[in-house]
Symmetry: C2
Subunit: 233 residues, 2 copies
């Protein structure tokens, strides 16, 4: 009996994901037409996404036009932090209004950006809901996805949440300023990442102190410029 129920549940989930994929393709086509680079940033709660993005945007915005979509279940705290410097538009999605979703779906991104003129921007950063599981299953039409993990979380997250590390293109190992105070084996963590996703680039950062941010930001700038160039040709 349980197996029957289970099969039904899986079928339903499959249907939701198929609908999402079609909408993600629609988003992807629109972003390609506009030459807009979209980055999907995911992590567990508290890995430091918002601080990382604050510092990243502050450094980028002189040369790249950025807009941000922030997904949370509740509160506008992250959007408030990201809008402190008023030059970058930030759209907050509270998924509570969409049934309390644990992820951002493609159609939610579409609705969230409907008030922006996307042709004005080079880069759209999506700060997804803090969750290492569900957001990995929902393509939003982004060019690349980044997973942020914190050294305070333990080394084994990549092998315990492998789908997230499989679908993402780069990993950011954040809060490295805490390493002297932890029993954290950084080499093991990186090995676990590469066990799941061979050759995945890993940026070691401390968003708080600024350590290591340069390589991460350089990578992002190169990505955005490559897409712009491809669009101009």
């Amino acid at each position: 009996m349980h197996q029957e129920r289970r099969k039904k549940e899986i079928k339903v989930v499959r249907k939701v994901l198929d609908v999402n994929e079609a909408m993600a393709e629609e988003n992807r086509r629109q972003y390609a037409e506009l030459g807009l680079y979209v980055l999907n940033v995911m992590s567990s709660p508290g890995a430091g996404k918002t601080t990382l993005l604050q510092k990243t945007i502050a450094s980028l915005k002189a040369k790249i036009k950025v807009a941000v979509v922030v997904g949370d279940i509740c509160t506008t705290r992250d959007a408030d932090r990201l809008s402190l410097d008023h030059s970058v538009p930030v759209v907050q999605i509270c998924t509570d209004e969409f049934g309390g979703d644990c992820h951002l779906a493609a159609h939610v991104i579409k609705e969230a950006t409907s008030g922006l003129d996307l042709s004005e921007f080079d880069l759209l950063i999506v700060e997804n809901v803090g969750n290492l599981v569900c957001p990995a299953e929902f393509d939003i039409g982004a060019d690349k996805s980044a997973v942020v993990l914190s050294v305070a979380e333990g080394e084994d997250k990549p092998i315990k949440y492998p789908l997230m590390f499989r679908v993402c293109d780069v990993a950011v190992l954040n809060k490295v300023d805490l390493l002297p105070h932890l029993e954290y084996d950084k080499d093991q963590a990186v090995n676990f990442i590469h066990e799941v996703h061979a050759d995945m680039p890993v940026f070691e950062t401390s968003a708080r102190t600024g350590q290591g941010l340069e390589d991460w930001i350089d990578w992002l700038v190169r990505e955005v410029e490559a897409k712009k160039k491809a669009g101009n040709n």
Copy 2:
């Protein structure tokens, strides 16, 4: 069109949750008959659940008969850590075999414990999948639920993931040994917890150093003994 789709999705989710609730009630009745106390432990990935439970079980097992169910998407790492001391039975669930679920559902707990003679135990601890969102929606029939949060995660988790803090009975604020190295406002974190769930007991612990574990374990022992006593009357 999106609204229509959305309504359909919500209906489907509602159905899955209803089925789960019926099964949770079945579990609850069985646990009541046996006088078995069941604790559901939830947190984001890397908050320190496994270390907390290792220390808790080591301290309890002389006076209380404990069994453990551990949920992960992949790997048996947590179960391996919890079984190191071979005196406590540990059942690992890899939700990958159940469609990669982001939570433990009531029927999964039932299946996981089907190989144990539950009448032999006083306490069943369920270490849920690391996720601050979805496990909160799935009643498993436990007596009480505990949410573990780490001071490395930022103060605002309770108001960003309010359902989890609403459905749980106690909170464990873990990794307090890291406080000197963080800009973490512990009072604000506790205020946020109480904003969502007034009077929620908060245990401040470092599972690594052992700091604060006594109060948490005392609470758990009192809970288990109260249920045993009620069952004997």
